[in-house]
Symmetry: C2
Subunit: 336 residues, 2 copies
Amino acid sequence: MPTIKDVARLAGVSVATVSRVVNNAPKVSEKTKRNVNKVMDDLGYTPNANARALVMQKSMTMGVVIPDLTDPFFALLANGVEEAARANKMQLLLSTGMIDADSERKAITLLIEQQCDVLVVHSKKLCDEEIIKLAYRKPGLVLIDRYIKEIADRCVWLDNFEGGKTAARHLLSLQHTEFACISSKYEIDDPELRTNGFKSEIEKAGYLLDETLVGYGEPNLQGGEIATQTLLSTGKKFTAIFVYNDAMAIGAISTLENNGFKVPNDISVLGFDDVLLSRYSRPKLSTLHYPIKEMAIQAANIALDAVSNNIKVPQKREENKHVPIIVKRESTSLNK
Amino acid sequence: MPTIKDVARLAGVSVATVSRVVNNAPKVSEKTKRNVNKVMDDLGYTPNANARALVMQKSMTMGVVIPDLTDPFFALLANGVEEAARANKMQLLLSTGMIDADSERKAITLLIEQQCDVLVVHSKKLCDEEIIKLAYRKPGLVLIDRYIKEIADRCVWLDNFEGGKTAARHLLSLQHTEFACISSKYEIDDPELRTNGFKSEIEKAGYLLDETLVGYGEPNLQGGEIATQTLLSTGKKFTAIFVYNDAMAIGAISTLENNGFKVPNDISVLGFDDVLLSRYSRPKLSTLHYPIKEMAIQAANIALDAVSNNIKVPQKREENKHVPIIVKRESTSLNK
DNA sequence: TTGAAAGCGCTACCAG
DNA sequence: CTGGTAGCGCTTTCAA
């Protein structure tokens, strides 16, 4: 690969001049500019971003850590960060770290080594203290999808409890009174918060959420199918189910229909997330929209602000908290 | 951020020594090693990958360019590259470049500037010559999902024509004789190749593919719905449809069912790609498995070989060509 | 087993 | 408008 020196030599100018035309700095004569550009073209010269980052002390690079690219939810999160990167002429680095604290830590470390200026991190397994420490070390690090009080202005998160309540309100407004709920067995806060929010609003309205009508499963199609089967096997009646996520909800619909129930006529099914899947399901899934892409972009922008120490307006915490909203499609309807 | 010098100073050793313990080079006494490690810990020192890349002349970085992260197909491609990167302790850089040649070129250039050692590129719009030139400049660049004769050993691609034929054979074996086909209106080779392959095999078997029973649409749910509506409006009879991709196929099923046709009982629907979606559809979609993740991993490995000039065994071209295979699920069945 | 120093490719400052 | 040069953080000889 040709370097700036090669260009300088062939163009008969100094490296300083080449640098100037590369970054089109003001004071270069048209003539030399043309000349240098030509040489660069001939040589197929590309500036070395590493060298530049080294001297500039910034890499124009934005990192994101997510558990898994194949999960459409996280792909959308990455997509948001990528868009923010592109908008700021930065390059996206991506690390995946799932399952355990170790791999999450490793993913973050790798990105820090690469000198990412900003870092949008999705981490569920690293403990609070460790993340707080990282956040202090790295001003451009923002946490997404998780709330830690001590660094609240560096977090962008969803109010899952409120989401559960919103779900309940939707179903209640459709005059349902007999509810079931499917949750995830994964050990993170979200499922519990959603279920509790749902339950609290149901009870506030004077109804009950039967303990045995709360099912659990892996947060995917099959998990939804199995959990629904279990719900059905209680023999208890319910006319509406609130499901942890869209994938499980689609599994629920499938099992329900296989057992002779029509969705939504006999039973309404409400998902969560509003991923692509929900629009592809038949009936199209009613769900709660999780604005993950917008949240990702916001996270990136907060980080960007932090590093360019723009007056560093400490964000109002409330603005970093998001609330999912109902997207009513076809899988929920009036109870009759 | 603390640098190697800070560590050296505080540990009372030279930077050379620190470097040795960071890279755990052999000849360092246990004692200094412990000492230096402690200082690094206290300081929260992280090596600067840019500086390292600069002197080592390699970045331990793998780049991938795809059109769009939100498309599950491309997410899976990126996922494959990411896995290869992780397996080789490299970091993943991702650039998106869709729509036009310009943005594809820009995406690739960005990655080259970042000094990615290997580069897996999905590009449909850049012309052959330009890609060939890039491939010569950059030994670690491998093209995925496209075949260019001159650099065949740097390409990993799918035989779309053969895929169309496979689709036909599947439907033929199910005793269908009246066919329709839905293609994509996008201006790339793939749709045409698939349709032509399909047609050729149908005709070989002595049947016809009615020109008016070949529909076109955007390669998404809605495109499939609209195209199917058009097909239906011809009033002509068909018992099997071969659809360009899974998203459109699901749209087709939806429209078919809305018009009173049962899938697969009245009409069989066959998709292409075998993305996640196909398992979430009801009936579950029969489709052709496009091994994009494996192809991505292979592409990364070819690139890796090329840069570490491992005897540089020129790959057998045939090995770089992949053929989709039928995944029979529920949307296709015996014609009766 | 350790240290000194050159140099990777680039930017930015200071001179001219 | 242009050139010379220090130095970004690191690895890697070469000496000690």
